[in-house]
Symmetry: C2
Subunit: 293 residues, 2 copies
DNA sequence: CAGATAGATGAGTGTTTACTCAACTATAGT
DNA sequence: ACTATAGTTGAGTAAACACTCATCTATCTG
């Protein structure tokens, strides 16, 4: 019985998450051709199409969506369990889980200063869209997006969100009023279906659920679709400033809502005495101070 | 970064489930040597010991236990999702999930008559120790062990359990009374911790929790430990008659309790109209009638 | 003691995996 | 028209995988 390899499944998961073979290749440090080959091989093994190819981008088929959800979950369990066993001595490792978008765009860009200040310590960062379980995954800390009110947990604010609607430049020319914005194709995050409604509410407008709904499972997918001109995304402008600077997307209607949700550093109260937690708190406090200047 | 292959992880899971490289080799249709090599390679990759080797059997280390739980779960998700996509046309496939011990020892031994009577239909059987989810796993039916009272479900009795204490012949010589039985090393199923207490209660004896407790995660592991002379197992004698006939284990104290828990064929009420469910019910009814004669 | 059982180890080998490279196709933007 | 972008495809290749076979060690049982 022929079963896909774990490596192939990881490639599929990355491509599905990014909805881009190119981005997946970047993340996995392989060529786009390798991604293409593996996806094709996987589709041949399964005997179905996982991706629809159109113009210069890909989208998931329904079966692809189903498989992506399950493969992501299964792989996560395996990778996390394996990492739990292979990470070096507990005493000098800080184990963190964070949502992928925030991890790649905020946290990992600041690792240099951590390494410089704490050469004897190692950060083990894993990304996850699932709600993390401290015990089973042997984590010290978690970075979460939310309101900051997790029972039994201590939460430190890391980044206050600034949500702005953004879209591709060609589309931006026609979105100059709130009315036009409401009538456009809005890209939704399936994990927070009410986010657009809340945002409109905050700026004093009512908004009812659209009849045609485009939902994506994570911010990376939303951003890709946005850049591709599919619709308008609601994103934290602090995490997309590079794409903005490159002119690949731009904000519309000049409205911004702060603090609807934020990114917090979270850990159980019982972890307060851990050296790993104290070290990370010390470092991140300094980082946040530097940022405030 | 070197990550274990899915094939390796599946070999590890089978060896851990059976607590026997030989049995795992049988199940996977490879040589015991291949199992040994793969486990050693995996231990080298992870840099830890997963199994303790003693005499002629193996046991899991604590880390091995942790990894087994997670690997089993992760693999199950991947395998089930993949099987969901690769199974042929829905119309002529019956998708069943069953606990592994019952599946291998009762259900799969009767497949010949099914194939003979329904040549146009295919049985897709998957084994799982987790509670199955009909929608996510696209199942028609499930075979469960329990009391038969699952809300929203229709349950047909398949096999009434007959629990007897069994052990290796050498140990059996010293277990001739209930008192001796109580004082012996009893092997527990971690999924039903109270099973021994219930059993003793049913035969009119009180039994308090032992101070030294040997727990295993599934019946296969319990049987292996029992055959190896580790302790006394409480098993359904209908599912172990082969080992009994071979003299590898024998029952003790001549007590049997029926119907504490049983095996049921279970499906949601909404599945009643499925042709697949009707076909399977028809076949299993005939099988049960044949057995009653 | 002989035979059976179970896991371990080294060597060998064929197959599969996992890429890269080069060239191509189909857009989109200037 | 030219350039950039993104995915596709065929061919090639090195490494890894996944075994088998033969032999060994350490018990257990009759």
């Amino acid at each position: 019985m022929s079963f896909p390899s774990l490596n192939t499944l990881r490639t599929f998961e990355a491509a599905a998450r990014h909805l881009s073979f190119n981005r997946a290749a970047d993340e996995l440090c392989i060529s786009p051709s390798a991604v293409s080959h593996q996806i094709r091989q996987l589709e041949h093994t399964l005997g179905i199409r996982l991706f629809l190819r159109s113009e210069r981008r890909v989208s998931l088929t329904q079966k692809g969506e189903f498989y992506f959800k399950n493969v992501q979950q299964g792989i996560q369990i395996l990778v996390q369990a394996t990492n739990s066993l292979t990470t070096p001595m507990r005493e000098h490792t800080i184990r963190i889980s964070a949502v992928p978008f925030f991890a790649t765009r905020w946290l990992m860009r600041r690792l240099d200063t951590f390494q410089a200040h704490y050469p004897g310590w190692e950060l083990a960062i894993q990304t996850s869209t699932q709600k993390s379980e401290f015990d089973r995954e042997d984590l010290d800390l978690v970075i979460r997006r939310g309101a900051g009110d997790w029972p039994g947990m201590i939460a430190h604010l890391l980044l206050r969100e600034s949500l702005v609607p953004v879209c591709a430049p060609a589309m931006a020319r026609t979105i100059d009023t709130i009315v036009a914005l409401k009538g456009a194709t809005l890209l939704h995050n399936s994990q927070v279906p009410s986010e657009w409604s809340e945002w409109f509410g905050k700026i004093g407008h009512t908004f009812s659920a659209p009849t045609a709904k485009l939902e994506f499972q994570n911010s990376s997918q939303i951003l890709e679709a946005c850049i591709a001109g599919v619709g308008i995304a609601l994103m934290d402008r602090q995490l997309i400033f590079q794409e903005m600077a490159e002119g690949r997307i731009q904000s519309v209607v000049d409205q911004q809502v702060d603090g609807m949700r934020n990114y917090y550093l979270v850990y159980p109260k019982s972890h307060t005495t851990r050296k790993s937690v104290q070290i990370f708190l010390e470092w991140i406090s300094n980082e946040l101070e530097q940022m405030d200047r």
